[in-house]
Subunit: 254 residues, 2 copies
């Protein structure tokens, strides 16, 4: 691990709709990017179904292994929204009426419309700290190192940005890239491996790309030390040039 000093994150995407292909996940990339910027690199993602035993077991497994666990999905009012009660079970605490959440939700509805299904959204693990939902009121929450958010991307993003100042991060993970059109990954592989070996504090990734006009290879150096990343990309640039390529700084245009 190049960034041993950074806290780590795991994301649980909870929902049958991603596993069935109905919905294309849009939260992984957003959270991966933002967590890197906050210096809390994302180390694992799991997409799991709305099955209580799976959610409870997975939450307990990953909250012991990572500094932060984020969940998306399963906090609405319907029968398949079971994330909140499963997190309570995972922590072994009661799942009960949460006064502050109740006070936000009840006045949001017409008299009589705050029905039992909607009351479930104000029923949380004891000790939960609310995460604001500026889009549709019903809050997320944190308990211990687990942060429970909505699955709808614009709600999740608003929740995360409200939560972010409360997260203790590390040095931001920076990325530097270089690419060369027409150069094959298999030609730079040996030299790239040698450069990686000289920069154990960085993560050097090699990514072939394909465009209508042909392909090439992009190399990305990532880590908490921007000067190291720039130096490594300088060496990769020289390698590409030595092999007859025309290296261009940055990622290839889409």
């Amino acid at each position: 691990m190049p960034d041993r000093s950074n806290p780590t994150a795991c994301l649980l995407v909870i929902g049958n709709e991603v596993l069935s292909g109905r919905t294309r996940d849009a939260n992984i990339q957003y959270l991966a990017t933002r967590l890197g910027e906050l210096g809390i690199p994302l180390r694992e993602v799991r997409v799991i179904p709305d099955v209580a035993a799976t959610i409870i077991g997975t939450v307990n497994e990953v909250r012991a292994r990572f500094d932060h666990v984020f969940t998306t999905g399963g906090i609405g009012p319907t029968h398949d929204d079971i994330t909140s009660e499963c997190v309570a079970a995972a922590f072994g605490v009661p799942w009960e009426k949460h006064a502050a959440a109740w006070a936000r939700l009840e006045p949001h509805y017409q008299p009589g419309a705050f029905n039992p299904a909607r009351q479930r959204m104000a029923t949380l693990p004891r000790g939960a700290e609310l995460i604001d939902n500026p889009v549709s009121i019903a809050p997320g929450f944190s308990i211990g190192n687990v942060h429970v958010m909505a699955g709808v991307p614009r709600i999740m993003q608003a929740m995360f940005e409200g939560l972010a100042p409360r997260l203790a991060g590390g040095p931001p993970i920076v990325a530097r890239a270089v690419h060369a059109h027409g150069l094959a990954e298999g030609r730079i592989a040996e030299g790239l491996g040698a450069i990686q070996a000289r920069y154990p504090g960085l993560d050097l990734g090699s990514y072939p790309y394909y465009r209508g006009t042909g392909g090439g290879v992009a190399v990305v150096a990532k880590g908490p030390d921007a000067a190291q990343a720039a130096a490594a990309v300088g060496e990769v640039t020289a390698l590409m040039r030595d092999l007859g390529g025309t290296p261009i700084q940055g990622e290839p245009p889409v």
Copy 2:
């Protein structure tokens, strides 16, 4: 689990680039959809980094729990492409020159260009059965119940379609949907829970949606029995109408 009689699948997305946010995964939804059609529902996805101990441990954990394991990513020629050797380690078999893969790759290159980095793509776990790569030659492979594919979406898709006829599936998972604009999820929740309870062989999902012109709720019934799915959606349609909604069959337009 509504489809106990179907074989199950787990997908491992292997690659730092998804965890860093550089790349948005495009393989989960494709495989989720196709596996459902083949009657091998996807039960879990994990996105894991290019770290040998993590790959080996995860492969061994999930191959014992699911009928099929699919992996994407990490089978190219560079130092960060370690999926193949990790799968060999997970199975406890030698990682060695694979004669058939070698015979495909070597003639693909100019004389002298089939260098040690490229030879790694013809080095596979002993006993691996090749998965054709009609796009860029370098094959994937199956060993036991683990199917190792490329991460680039169009290569992965071509590999999967070549592999699919070899997979023993179950009844296809079918989906039937109905939606109602202007109807809140919290109003149908109670009745929907009762319908779900009457159809234990189905998975009923409730999905709020948001459009420029307002929102609504979509309900999707999934399972291997198309008649049951249609009957359940009929009951949901009646529920929506009873609550003053105007149900429309199918998913809401995007």
